[in-house]
């Protein structure tokens, strides 16, 4: 949170400012990621994996020549879980079975 607050204060009117800001954001993101890791919160990013209703929410179905039916074509939004407890399902587009 501290880093986010500091980030907002950065002057982004200059090119250098923007660069500093992006740098700061990247570092903050890493910091946040390490907090998630520390608390064993795992990202669910099931690109190209088989669809599992326990972890993924289907947003839509699409035909795909490259992806087997029932597999995930695209992850719209990543999900998170804490050990076996699902915090938020990943939202995905799944390959449909009718091959046209």
């Amino acid at each position: 949170m501290d880093s986010f607050e500091l980030g907002v204060k950065v002057d982004t009117s200059t090119k250098e400012g923007v660069e500093t800001f992006i740098e700061g954001q990247t570092a903050t993101f890493k910091l946040f990621q390490s907090v998630l890791d520390k608390f064993l919160i795992e990202t669910i990013n099931p690109e190209n994996m088989k669809y599992d209703p326990e972890l993924h929410e289907v947003i839509s179905m699409q035909d795909s020549d490259d992806t087997e039916s029932g597999y995930i074509i695209e992850v719209i939004q990543k999900g998170y879980r804490l050990k076996n407890r699902l915090l938020r399902p990943a939202r995905v587009i799944v390959s449909s079975d009718d091959k046209s």
Partner: protein
């Protein structure tokens, strides 16, 4: 006494509660939610079922096998107007069964609604069991006050299929009143229960009487609308969003399922937010795209706008309130309390309308999503002896009678009569020397016999031949506390008696129910196996992920031998994970954990070293407590790794 759990089997969501000491407690399901969507899905490729959130999540990919709002079908005939209306609304197939009941088709298999509801009940049962750590076999299940005998019986059947002995079916408004009633001061009072749920609206007028210091609950009247609920509110907002989007961008996304799904969620979220805020922003970036690039939806919805969109829906709920009051023989001023049930009643406008109609502030100190389940648990407590000083009286929703001369209905028990109840009346023959009479049991308010619902018929024969009007035939109705009706006819002269028990009207025979019970049990085993497989696969995935990460982070610190051993084990596990053989996966998981013990240890040491330097560098900002905290967490980490 065995524990009796309380289940609110809702149209859109279900909820389970138990008595914990003298307090009712709602149990969270395995996903950590206090309510479970009443949705059951059958997957296409594997022969297994999903219930609740997981079924909801896959709905888009499998609409024809995702069954919801089954409560609208349970115990109804295919030709029922409610069923007819439902057929146009749902993506799954509704079929007419041999006995005329409405059944659903899932995975090409025709299934009775009680078997579907049983899946939901089983999930609720398991939820309670995993909390209590013991098997649960008995339950109180709630139903809308207007449910007739076949709907009640079908709900009981559903419980039986789920492995639950349904100790009592109680009315939802009664349960809600119970949830409020226990903490109340003594004294007679009349209560209106306004229940606006996800898919249905019900209003009931209840009387709580103080009888020698005991609270007596009685449903005086009930009314409602089976097709009016919070989801209709969502749809209104969604239509509004579609219109606005069209105005802003000129694009119509009404056919784009992905966009619609996002709009639906945004609509529900906005609705919920507007219960606490005066306005909310709806932002849906990249909703759709055309040749000129991506299109975003970006608009502000105010509470006033929302209210104007749904005003007529709210007004629609007032008419049933008037009817219910009239049926109860009361005026608006006679109602002491109004109870709000159902998530949609959180909307301030709904609360205002209810208040202005009944003239009293609505009570909302019990969570409106949970009140019914809590009441059911209290009733369960009464039945198991845990809760005393509450006596529950239910009423018959419709009048009961028999067909008499000229095909008219003669009522023996008027509607809204408190049950259990008994009624007797003497009838006679219509013709000279008539030796047999047919007792045709009817339910309903209409005069003509054919307009009412036929519950059953039987013949009383061998009546001595006499001029008409002389034989005395005593017809007795006896309704027990569960709403099961016993009808008997007795010739007073000969003492000959015939009777009928009306309860099998759910449309399912005992054999069919038994078949469904065994189907459900075998499904449970398969589900369990599948769950175990998924768990071990997840464990394998996590282990691979963690090990690969350690390998990468440690780099040169891992010896070549260690590395090749571990990589080989990872390769084998990955191969095993492609299949569905639980044992193989288990073995490979084990061998990888063994192979990676060394590097896990190193990774841990590294992490600890890093944590130490980190906390040192943080010292200027953080307190000592934080440092201790960090170390404590690392110890936890270690334990986790050991487990794996």
């Amino acid at each position: 006494m065995a524990r009796v759990i309380g289940i609110d089997l809702g149209t859109t969501n279900s909820c389970v509660a138990i008595m914990d000491g003298d307090q009712a407690k709602v149990i969270e399901n395995s996903e950590g939610d206090r309510t479970t969507p009443s949705i059951v899905a059958y997957s296409k490729d594997e022969d297994r079922s999903m219930v609740g959130q997981s079924a909801k999540r896959q709905a888009v990919s499998n609409p024809e096998n995702t069954l919801y709002a089954i409560k609208r079908l349970i115990g109804r005939k295919y030709d029922d107007s409610v069923v007819k209306k439902d057929i146009d609304k749902v993506p799954f197939e509704i079929k007419k069964a041999k006995n005329g009941d409405a059944w659903v088709v899932a995975n090409g298999k025709e299934t009775a609604p009680p078997a579907i509801s049983a899946e939901v009940l089983r999930k609720m049962k398991e939820t309670a069991e995993s909390y209590l750590g013991e098997t649960v076999n008995e339950a109180v299940i709630t139903v809308p006050a207007y449910f007739n005998d076949s709907q009640r019986q079908a709900t009981k059947d559903a419980g039986k299929i789920a492995g639950l002995e349904v100790k009592r079916i109680i009315n939802e408004p009664t349960a809600a009143a119970l949830a409020y009633g226990l903490d109340k001061k003594r004294g007679d009072r009349k209560i209106a229960v306004y229940d606006l749920g996800g898919g249905t609206f019900d209003v009931s007028i209840i009387e709580i009487a103080d009888v020698d210091g005991e609270n007596q609950f009685e449903v005086l009247a009930t009314n409602g609308d089976t097709f009016l609920g919070g989801e209709d509110f969502d749809l209104r907002i969604m239509d509004h969003l579609l219109d606005e989007f069209k105005k802003q961008t000129g694009m119509d996304v009404a056919k784009d399922t992905q966009a619609l799904q996002r709009l639906k969620e945004a609509a529900e979220k906005a609705k919920i937010e507007l219960s606490n805020q005066a306005q909310t922003d709806i932002n849906l970036p990249y909703l759709t795209a055309d040749s000129s690039g991506p299109k975003h939806l970006n608009l502000t919805l105010t509470r006033a706008k929302l209210e104007s969109l749904v005003e007529d829906l709210i007004v629609q709920t007032i008419e049933p309130c008037k009817t219910a009051l009239k049926d109860a023989g009361l005026g608006v001023g006679d109602v002491n309390d109004v109870i709000l049930v159902g998530g949609q009643t959180r909307m301030p406008k709904v609360q205002d309308e209810v208040k202005s109609f009944f003239g009293v502030d609505a009570r909302k100190d019990v969570n409106p999503d949970e009140a019914v389940a809590i009441g059911a648990a209290i009733q369960g407590g009464v039945l198991s002896g845990d809760v005393k000083d509450v006596l529950l009286l239910d009423v018959t929703p419709l009048s009961l009678g028999i067909e008499t001369l000229g095909a008219v209905t003669t009522k023996l028990i008027e509607k809204n009569t408190t049950i259990p109840t008994k009624a007797e009346q003497i009838f006679s023959t219509a013709e000279d020397n008539q030796t047999a009479v047919t007792i045709h049991v009817l339910q309903g308010e209409r005069e003509r016999a054919q307009d009412n619902k036929s519950l059953g018929r039987f013949d009383l024969t061998d009546i001595p031949a006499k001029p008409r009007g002389l034989p005395q035939i005593e017809v007795a109705f006896d309704i027990d506390a569960n709403g099961i009706i016993n009808v008997s006819a007795k010739d007073k002269e000969t003492g000959k008696e015939q009777k009928i028990v009306i309860q099998a009207s759910s449309g399912l025979s005992d054999e069919e129910i038994d078949q469904m019970i065994s189907d459900a049990e075998s499904n449970a085993e398969e589900d369990q196996k599948y769950r175990e497989l998924v768990d071990i696969k997840n464990q394998g995935d996590q282990l691979i992920h963690a090990t690969e990460k350690s390998l990468e982070e440690l780099g040169e610190k891992v010896t070549a031998e260690e590395r090749s051993n571990v990589e080989a084990a990872i390769g084998e596990l990955k191969e095993a994970l492609k299949g569905d053989d639980k044992d193989t996966i288990e073995t490979k998981v084990k061998s990888l954990s063994e192979a990676s013990v060394g590097i896990a240890q190193k990774a841990f040491e590294e992490a600890q070293a890093a944590a130490n330097t980190e906390s040192k560098s943080d010292d200027s900002q953080s307190t000592d407590e934080n440092v201790v905290d960090a170390e404590y967490e690392e110890v936890d980490n270690d334990k986790e790794k050991d487990k794996n």
